[in-house]
Amino acid sequence: MSRGHIVIEDVVKVYDPEGAAVMAVDHCSLEIEAGEICMIVGPSGCGKTTLLNAIAGFHDITSGRITMDGEVLCSNEKPKSTPGPDRIVVFQNGALFPWKSNLENVIFGPVMQGKLERKEALEKGRAMMTDAGVSGVEHNYPGEVSSGMRRRVEIVRALMNDPKALLLDEPYRALDSLTKSVMHEALLEIYYKNKVTIFFITHDLEEAIFLGHRVAIMTTRPCKPKKVLNVDIPHPRDYSVLTSKRFRELIEETNDAVHEEALKAFQAGEKEG
């Protein structure tokens, strides 16, 4: 069964092709297996979000092709893919609708698409929230619960659409490191229950190695994979992995590559300023 098998082929994205052309993504090719957690690591502003937006259908690509399960999302002929419930984005600062209660947020997708009756959706939503450890806040507004809770609710909202892939754009960036470690375990727990492909953008190498089956380290602007690391620590994982020898070794192995790109990004930033 292939569900959420994403192939990125030779994708190029140039911003403003008429004027001062900035190449954000440069002939990037990457294959994400069905049901895999693929972590994309790169310094801020390296163009990794551009890649995610191309998959999600929020922005077009200049050339190349992205397919999911053999179906073309975008290509030279159709540069912008159509956003759909098979690929749901969990945003950096969260995008739960503040005017809807958590439960109303969670049932938004299936009700919109007419996949479930409201009553069924409410039942399923409650069950999934309980499953994800966020029961008890169903009738609160997102603004009334902690940011960690909000992220979990948002992931539940995404999963309610029964997506093939989850696209996460630095979802835990704003969280403190203790909340973050709790969120990582919670995400893995949710993942083990609902095997979906996870395309996860971060600039945190430890987070990437702890969560991912594979970690793609990207070059800074233009963005393309510099090194793809297979994380051979078996799943299911919990926080004890963080202190294991293999985890440290993998960090050592990749730290240089990440640092090098971070330095490049920093120097490029200095030149711009």
Partner: protein
């Protein structure tokens, strides 16, 4: 309630008002207590500077709060006073509700449709800097009755503010909400109904509150200028006309009664709006 009454904030507020009234009372009576010789040199000085002789700006010329209270009690029993309340309220509400009914859809249309924005916004921006009161003569000529003319002017007062707030509010909705809704299979209509409308609601509330304040300012001035819009002189011309009429009739206590009445009326309508706003946007109190 008990907690509120025992809070320092309440007592500070109460003390502030009491001290203000006491100072006002003392100031108003000061003319009786002070010898005329005390004012003479100041009057000379002002006269020498070319101002009107024998005239000194002094709080003693203003009626005292005790006198105002007496005048107020006297006026409470007169139907004309309540008729003034009713007329002003009626005009404010008429203009304000019309401004909401026209302003909110217009603002939303400007926000969501590039065509509507292109056609509607330039004219709107050209008319917006004209103060509502500058419309008084034109409005009286245009509308068949003075009543409609005054309502139209109060409408203008609230309309521009509401439109600008709705437009700004709808435009500042975070793009992530649109993207999320789109991903989850929303049609354009769904996005309008479930993202743009609730996302703009806080701005609608703010715009309405500001618009309501302007409406009261405008209605009072419009009533003064137009002579109350009533055929029967002095009866039922609205609170603005009540003040003007008291001035013309030389009843200075009644002027202040009218001023305070307008303050109360404005406060009541803002409270009503605030209450409605809280009811319409329950998620905001979570912040």
């Amino acid at each position: 309630m008990r907690k509120f009454l025992s809070s320092p904030a309440f007592w500070r507020g109460a003390a502030s008002i009491v001290v203000f009234l006491v100072l006002w009372e003392i100031g108003a009576r000061s003319k009786q207590w002070m010898a005329p010789e005390f004012f003479a040199p100041f009057k000379e000085l002002l006269g020498a500077m070319g101002f009107k002789k024998d005239y000194l700006p002094w709080i003693g010329a203003v009626p005292a709060p005790s006198g105002v209270l007496k005048a107020w009690v006297a006026v409470l029993g007169q139907p004309g006073y309540w008729q003034s309340w009713y007329m002003s309220m009626f005009r404010v509400m008429g203009g304000f509700i019309a401004a909401m009914l026209i302003g909110i859809p217009f603002g939303l249309a400007l926000a969501v449709s590039r065509v509507a924005h292109g056609i509607g916004f330039p004219t709107f921006e050209v008319l917006r800097p004209i103060p509502p009161l500058a419309w008084v003569p034109a409005s009286i000529i245009f509308w068949p009755t003075q009543e409609l003319a005054i309502i139209f002017i109060t409408f203008l007062g609230a309309f521009y503010t509401i439109v600008i707030n709705v437009l700004g509010g709808a435009r500042s909705i975070d793009v992530r909400y649109f993207q999320a809704a789109q991903s989850m299979g929303s049609s354009s209509w769904d996005i309008f109904r479930r993202v743009i409308l609730p996302g703009t609601l806080p701005s609608i509330v703010v715009g309405s509150a500001v618009g309501m304040g302007i409406t009261w300012e405008v209605v009072v001035a419009a009533e003064m200028i137009s002579g109350g819009g009533s055929q029967q002189a002095g009866v039922g011309g609205g609170l603005g006309f009540f003040i003007w009429n008291s001035y013309v009739g030389g009843s200075y206590e009644q002027i202040v009664v009218g001023m305070i009445s307008i303050g109360i009326a404005g406060f009541l309508s803002s409270e009503l709006l605030r209450w409605g706003g809280r009811y319409a946007t329950p998620w905001l109190k979570a912040r």
